[in-house]
Structure formats: C-alpha cells, structure tokens
Amino acid sequence: MTVKPKRTSFFSKLVVSCTLIAFMIFVIIPTFYLISYVFIRWDEVWREVFANPIIGDENWKQIIKVLLFSFRLSISTVAFDLIFGIPLAYVLARKRFPGKSLLEDLVTLPLVMPTSGFGFATLITWTTVAGLGGLLGLRSGLLSLNAVMPFINVPVVLFIVHIALTFPYVVRTLETKIQSIDMTYEIASRTLGASSLTTFRNILFPLALPGIFSGAVLAFARSLGETGATLIVSGVSTTASIAIVRWTSEFKLSTAAFMGSLLVIIAWTIILPAEIYVSRGRRSSGLSLHLPVNLTRRMVELEKLISRKLYFIKDIVPLIIVVVTVIIPIAVVLNSVILYWSADPYTGKIEGGVVYQLFGPSNYFSSLLNATLTSIIVAIVSTYIATCISIPVSFIIERRWYGRIIRTILKVPLIIPTSSLGLSVLLLWGSSGLNLVNSGIWMIILTHIVFSVPVIVESIIAAYEGSGIQMYEESARTLGATAYNAIEAVSLPLIKGGIFTGFILSFTRSLGETGATFIVMGRDVTIPVLVVNMVEALAIPAALFTSTYLIILSLVMLAIVRIFTGR
C-alpha cells in the first residue's frame, strides 16, 4: 500500500469524495431506486398488484407467468451456450488455425451489434420467404414465429436470437480464462496417459470453473434483460424485460416497478454467490473423486473412444451454430436490402421498396437522420461522462479497502435488465420522482451512464491489473514524483488502452441499447428504437435498410477496437 503523505491527503480526500458522490448520484442511486420506490409506495403497489378493485391479483399472476417464462428461456439458453460454448472456447484458446481471428470476431459480433437490428435480421431469416424459406424453395418462411421448441416450450426464433446474443459471453469469458491456465497441466495429464476428454474433465474443467461460472452468469443476465431483439421476435410471448416496457407504456408503473425490483433482487442473489465463489478462487477437485473407481474406469475408456472418434463434434458443431445464428441472418438482411431496393420483388409494387419507404410519403429517411443524430449525441455524451467517473472510480476500487464492495455493486447495473434500469431512472429523475429531468434525450443520457460506468470500469481494471502499476508508481515516487505526478505521468499512460477499449465498448453498447431507451426516451428516438417502430408499423423494407445501417456501424466499431487494442 502506498503511503498517503499528509500534505496531499486533503487533496486526495477531496478527489475521492467528489468521485464517490458523482458515482452515487449517477450510478448507485438510479440502480437501486426501484427497490426503495416499491417500499415507499408499498400501498400503491399492493393496490395495483395484489388487490386491484377490478381485476384482483391478476397483475401478480401476470408477473409470475412472465417471470417463469423468462427464467425458462434464460436457463435453457445458458445450458445450450455452455454445451457448445465450452468446446469452442477451448478451441479458440488452445488451437492455432487459419481464420481464427475471424471466427473470434464473428463470435463477438453480437456483442457490439444493436440487438433490435439483429433481432430483425433473425426474424427475416427464419420466418419469411426472403430468408431461409425462400432459399429452400418454399413459399413461406422456414418457421412460424410461434413455432415452439419441444421440451423447453419456448419459441424457436426467440431461442435462436437469445443464443446468438449470449454465446459471446460464455465463449469469450471462458476463452480468456482458459488462456490464463498454464498449458503444462494439460500436457502433464496427457503424457500421464489421459485422453483429451479425460484431461478436460479432470484438469481443465475444475481449473476453468470460475470462468464457466462468470460466463454463465453474464449470459443468463443478458438473456434475462434482453429487450431490443426480443421485442421484435417474441410474437405472443412476453419476457420480463419487455413486460416492463409494455406496462410502463400502459402506465401500470407500480406493477412494472414491482417486477423490476424483483429482477434487481434476483440479479443480486445470482451475483453475490458467484462473486464470492470466484473471488475465493476455490478449486473444485474434479468430478471423478466422488465416483466409484469402477465407474471412473469405464468413463475414462469411453472418453478415450470419444476423444479419438468424435473429435470433429467439438470443432464442427460450434462452428455451425455461429454460422446459423450470426452469419446467415446478417447475410440475409444484406441480401434482402438489395432485393427490396427499388420494389417488392414478389409483388413488384414500388411502395414495398426501400427507396419508396425512405424517401416517399412516410419519409423514414429523415426519421433515420434524426435518430442517428440522437443516438450519436447520447452515445458521445453518456460515454464521456461515464469515462470521467470511471477513471477515478477504478483507482478507488484498486486502492481502497472498500474497493471490492464497489466492484461487486457495479456488477448489478451490468446484469439487471436495462428496461428495469430505465424504469428506475424514470421514476427517480422524472415527474413522479424528483422531477428534475423530463423524458427525452437527457434522460436517455442519464440512463446510459448507469450501465456505461461498469463497462468502462471493468475494462480499465483489466488494464490496471495487467500492468503492475503499483510497482511503477512506487518507482516514480522514490524518484521524486508526488502521488499526483505519479498518477499523471505513469499510471494514466499505462492504462490508456484500457480506457480507450472501455470507451468504445460503452459507446457501442449505448448505440445499440433498446430496453431502457424505450422507457425514458419521450419523443427522442434512437436508431434501435426506430427499427422496432418500423417493424411494428410493418415498414419492413425501411427496417431492412436501418438494420443494415446499424450492422455496418457496429462492424466499423469492431474494426476500430481491433485496430487500437492490436488484437
């Protein structure tokens, strides 16, 4: 620990307290306000949710139904992600092959892609004649929007979208984790006679368990909170996050707030044990220790067989998943834009063409320009403010005893559904709360700051912990630099890359966010929201164009990240 000299301690106290105050106002209070709102207005909540004079506890039944559906969807998504994500992560972490970085990019793409655009692409691909149905020579889409997966009873298209959007969390988190595990353990195990699968089960799996855990938590939270794509492909089903959007727009604020706070609490109960588990770095001793020797031997035999004969499953199947869930939808959208450019290719009507819808009477082009302007202002301002808060907060997290607590709290806005975050901000700052900000662009900015700070902080901390800053700073101190000088001349330049990566990540996230924006936007529309609006207005060609536009925008972002992080 660095000694804080007396003279500068006043200054450093000032900086720390200012940071903490800004952090409270912009991040913590908006995150947790929803819960206190429910407590403060419990009477109202009770009357609306449990004892409505007209419909009784119908709203409560709705909440239960929606939550159950959401959980079924999220849990099955995560299970699927894990089954196919673990092998893919292993391959990406351990093997070198041509096209590897391309594959990594493809897996990451849904992370940076505005989800409403992506949801729309998936919708087109699976349920319309312009997509796979047409390719296979059918007269209709391959699937009906309401076709249901057997056993888990969730709509197929919804399931596909959720897999595409959550897959990167599992794969990339686990890939990083596996890379950090020394390869010599595996080599030792192999040379001691274990097959690759046995090695995985006994060596890599237990060591990578914290990574699997945190990847699964992130994927689960993402699936639970996803709004943009879900709004477009959900059909008749309702997930928790879109229920919040819907109920807010129907002014059933108490019901929405109550379910939102339930989600915050659930998010907490998921993160806390996971955090504790991961931070303890406890190592599970593999599954074989609890099995009888006989069974273990049979298992090892079986694994040897599988390792030899069925190795292609682990290589090929995840690849197919990526192609089917990510590449095909994007390709279909790009293709459709071209097909629909001047007129509907099936009916020949120019009213069904992209050009007519953009520049014709509905004039979607000017809406798109306005939305672009709004989106970019929101992204720049909110990311800038979030960065200004995140840099000192990261330093506090690394250097103060309460840093761990702040870091854990910061996981909450990262994983609770953004729509309940938006609701929280609306209730706090809006007319039914402090009445300081009206719905609109400024409230969108306030909301985006809440989830941008954790993104940037995580990225700064990664850079901070990877660069041995404490040692460099101590060196600088003994060379005559004051604490302030050392931070300015040594620490900040060293974590510059982390700050920049965080900035871009949060910028893209802000650009693509739908759920919270829907709730707080008032009359200012951002691009992802515009896509949803277009789909609801059945202006499909316009939606096609806007989705393409979004996808290209996010590809540019990804390219920028790659250039600057040099990865």
Binding site: V3, R7, T8, E474, A476, R477, T478, A483, N485
Partner: protein, 368 residues
C-alpha cells in the same frame, strides 16, 4: 555520522510480525547487503526505508532528519525493483530524465544531467530505445542512471538480479558495485543469495524472522558465524549433535552418536551440556591413513561429485551419520570412488561448538 539509522523499527501485518525491533546504522557510501531466507522481512525493511511503508513502531533517520511520515519523493532514496520497473511507455531518455523533469529543473539542466548520466552508464547511443528493446544488463544500467539523475543519495535494491540468468548475474553484480561505488552512493541491497552478498557487500546484515541475526563484514560473517543459522545459511557446514563428556585446558571432548568422540578446542561449554559441533565442508579431509592431532573417523564414500576444480564427497560414518567434504583438486590429489572406505579427518581448531538450539537442530538449518 551514519546516513541511514533505524531505531527499534517494528512492523506487523495482521498477526504476523514482519520486523521485530530492528536497530541498524548505515554509513555514508557504504554497500550493505541484507541477507536472509524468503519471508525474513528483507523487502519490508527496504520499503520502510524508501517510505513505501510506514513502521508501526520505531524511528527512521536519513542524515539528521527523522523521516517517519515523510513521503517517498522527499527521501532521496531510490527503490530499484527486481525487474527494474523502467516505465514501459517511455524511452531511455524519458526514463532517465523522469526525476529532473518531475522536479521541474530548467530544460538546459535536464538535458545536461540526463546526457551526463547516460554517458556514465555508457548508454548515450541507446537514448531512443524503449525498455523492451534492451537487454537485462542495459535495463539495469538505465534504472541506475534514472536513480542517479533523480539525485539519489541512497540506492535500495530489491533482489536486483533475481530475474536474470546465472552467468549474467555474476557479471552485473561487480559492474553494479563499481558503478555505485564510483558515484559514492549508499546502497542497501536485499538478497537471499549468500554468494552474491559475500561478493559485493562491505557489510552484511543477516535477517531472520524479522530480527537481525548478525551484522558484520563478509569475512566476519563467514569465519565467525554467531549462530548455527548463520553458519548454515552462509557457506553451509556439517552439524553434529553431541554431549560434552570431558574438558581440559586444551579443549573438550564431545560424545556423539555410536559412542564416538570428537575433540574440539572450545572450552566455553560445561561437561554434560548438549551441543552442536559444526565443521565447514572444506575443513574436512579424506585419506587412507589417520592424521596426527586430528579427529579421525572411519566411513564409506556414499557419493562423489565432481564440481569443477574440486570434489564433493558424502561419507557415511560407522555410526550411521553422514558427513560431507569438499576437497580442492590439486596435482596428485587422490580421487575416491563410491564404496571406498576412507578416514575422515578434521582438526579440533576448525570445530565450532554451539549450544544445542531450543527449537531443535533441524529448525535452524532447514528451509534455506
């Protein structure tokens, strides 16, 4: 007048006492090695002098000034980390001029000082290189130059050669020492490598479990170790457990396992006292015949190793104990093989006798 003085310095981390009442004075221009096993509190001591840690008790003086609570930047004590901590985002010139720039000297003065110091460490040519483009030796010189340019009076080295390979270490040791001595810097050098300490230090401080075990010149430490721990840690020796059975004017007799007797010159112990007799390996000779006035024990060569210039033998005595011997190979000296029966001889004057340690002999010589 000592330059650095520590009075009763104590530091705890939770329940662990890292430093326990350290008293130490270091003269201006002296090169002091702090030697001790891992976990002895060496780095803690160094960080306390640098001002990166504050002691829980005790006082630190640099020159006349008490520096408790004075921040590191005002102590003129430059800390050099194991990997030198050259700022990776700055080139050699920027690294070396870091101190002068931070202290806001005039541009003219910054230029002069930096190029002078860089010339001193013969790195004027590499001023535009980045740390990752330099060899380990060059990095070390840059780190040193950076410290000198910052106006360091005291250099604090934390295992400065730990990250380098064995051959480079030996070269850099002497190079560093002569550079530092030329500059008249006071150096405190932490290491767990006894060979390194013996080679470079003016004075060695042996630290163990937060306490100073012995302070002295390398010769004093080696020739006159004050404890079993010091003797074992610096140089190593054979330690034989026994009881004083007889004593006269010229020395005493110690009975060891298997009713064997060793004659020692020491007369300070009492009859019946449990003691440990220690003999350096190089003081033990092997031969075919008994030597007069020596202790002579019979044994079988268990292991013979050629270590370049000398032979190391492990001999099992008839009472079951093992004793090791290092014999310089000179022209005509006989080389024994495994299985040879030999007479092990050592002179009573070469035997040091220590009281049997409270916590057992093993505790004093293990884990080094």
């Amino acid at each position: 007048m000592p330059l650095v003085r520590l009075v009763n310095v104590t530091k705890r981390f939770g329940k662990i006492v890292a430093l326990d009442g350290i008293n130490l004075s270091i003269k201006d221009g002296e090169y002091v090695c702090i030697l001790g096993p891992t976990g002895a509190g060496k780095t803690t001591l160094l960080r306390i002098i640098a001002g990166l840690l504050e002691p829980d008790e005790g006082e630190i003086y640099i020159g006349e000034k008490r520096v408790n609570g004075v921040p590191p930047e005002e102590r003129n004590a430059v800390y050099m980390f194991q990997n030198f901590a050259l700022f990776p985002h700055m080139n050699v010139w920027q690294n070396v001029s870091f101190g002068p720039v931070i202290k806001e000297w005039s541009p003219q003065k910054i230029r002069n000082v930096t190029s002078e110091v860089l010339g001193m460490v013969r790195l004027g040519e590499r001023r535009d290189a980045y740390p990752n483009e330099l060899s380990g030796g060059m990095q070390q010189r840059v780190a040193l130059a950076r410290g000198i340019a910052a106006g360091a009076r005291i250099l604090l080295l934390d295992e400065p050669f730990g990250a380098l390979d064995a051959r480079l270490r030996v070269n850099l040791r002497t190079q560093l020492r002569s550079l530092v001595k030329d500059q008249g810097l006071t150096t405190i050098h932490v290491t767990h490598d006894q060979e390194e300490a013996l080679m470079v230090a003016d004075r060695i401080v042996i630290l163990r479990e937060g306490r100073i075990e012995q302070i002295g010149s390398p010769q004093e430490i080696y020739n006159n170790p004050q404890s079993i721990f010091v003797m074992s840690f610096v140089g190593g020796a054979n330690f034989i457990d026994g009881v004083v059975s007889n004593m006269d004017n010229s020395g005493s007799t110690v009975e060891i396992r298997g009713r064997l007797y060793i004659r020692v010159s020491d007369t300070t112990k009492k009859i019946g006292e449990r003691v440990v007799v220690a003999v350096r390996r190089e003081d033990v000779s092997l031969g075919k015949s008994r030597r007069r006035d020596f202790n002579n024990l019979v044994g079988e060569v268990e292991d013979a190793m050629f270590v370049g210039g000398s032979m190391e033998y492990m001999v099992r005595l008839e009472n079951g104990m093992s004793i090791s011997s290092r014999i310089l190979l000179e022209g005509g000296s006989k080389v024994f093989r495994k299985g040879d029966i030999v007479i092990v001889s050592f002179h009573p004057d070469e035997c040091r006798v220590f009281p049997y340690p409270e916590r057992g002999l093993l505790k004093e010589i293990e884990a080094i």
